[in-house]
Symmetry: C2
Subunit: 207 residues, 2 copies
């Protein structure tokens, strides 16, 4: 539990940084945008964070109304952390950071960790339309709730239900698109992205 180190400035950006400016906090938000996650899952997908810092950040986020802790119903009764609607409103902040950070992404360094769902934010920004989209990479499968303003914005694993579109691509293409080197439409035209389904997202991509 932090004794709340504040900037003490009457400025909304400074207030935002009072809540989410600490190290790791926004990356925890990025993880929780994928829906409810257990402590151990979070720890596994945030390589480098220490157990006590993760626990402390989650407590801060609970106290500040960004996340809640909930016990899953048995069987499998475990605690999961979940964003509140206030927490989900941080999506534009992560999108702005991600858009700016594109230019810094470059090639993958040997020391860089990767998780398939980290590509969810850039893809989400590039897709038009609405619907459930499944994305298949060799490294893993995840899904996007494009245009959805409540509930998780994306999730690990296959789409829960029949997706409106399905994208299959290799990680190199996905990275190039995330870096902004190639537009998604161009990658589709080049046959580097396979699109199936007939939702608005799929149609927009083929147009």
């Amino acid at each position: 539990m932090s004794p709340r180190r504040s900037y003490d400035q009457y400025c909304s950006a400074a207030r935002a940084l009072d809540l989410v400016g600490d190290r790791w906090t926004l990356l925890i938000v990025r993880e929780l945008l994928a829906g409810p996650r257990r402590y151990t899952d979070l720890h596994a997908d945030l390589p480098g964070v220490s157990t006590d810092v993760l626990a402390s950040r989650l407590k801060d986020m609970e106290r500040d109304g960004l996340a809640t802790r909930r016990r899953l119903p048995p069987p499998g009764a475990a605690y999961v952390y979940e964003l509140t609607s206030r927490g989900r409103e941080l999506l534009p902040v992560l999108q702005a950071l991600g858009t700016w950070g594109q230019a810094e992404l470059g090639e993958r360094r040997p020391t860089d960790a990767v998780r398939a769902h980290w590509f969810a934010l850039p893809l989400l920004r590039l897709l038009d339309g609405d619907g459930l989209v499944e994305v298949r990479l060799e490294e893993g499968v995840f899904h996007l709730h494009v245009g959805d303003r409540e509930g998780p914005v994306y999730g690990d694993g296959p789409a829960p239900g029949e997706p409106d579109a399905r994208l299959t691509l290799d990680s190199g293409t996905c990275a190039a698109v995330s870096r902004g080197e190639t537009s998604l439409a161009q990658a589709v035209r080049d046959g580097r992205v396979e699109v199936s389904g007939d939702g608005t997202v799929a149609k927009a991509l083929r147009a």
Copy 2:
């Protein structure tokens, strides 16, 4: 000089936080969006930052291509820090943070510092049109370059030249608008904001 503590994640948001996630960095960017500033000015408008941290952040920002150090021509030859175009591209990040932080702003706490130009970001987001706008508060005067994509986005003091619009309001109104409690248009209708000039910004406000 920091030995660059990286998250080591192949994710553009994480890369962005590698560069601007350190304490004070984004608030320094907020200050420099107002144009070239001297070290002492920065120190004065960032109460709480220690001298060494400020110097260290500025060096990091220079190394990372976010800011440059330049000597002003005599007379008054001093060093000023100035954002690069890459640094100015952080405006959307600060806007997203500020928009989210609105809800946390509330009333001014006794410990909160205030500077007139900290209201520039919220106002800039709320104004439509283009042109040079001068904003007059009791606490101080600043100006906005609305719709300008190069150069400083706002500045301390009166507008350099004849402004296209001039807004006069009290700090309570300015704070209420920044908190999102009142729309700017409503405040104009209520006579809490005085608008002069005939630029597109002024016309949009009176419409």
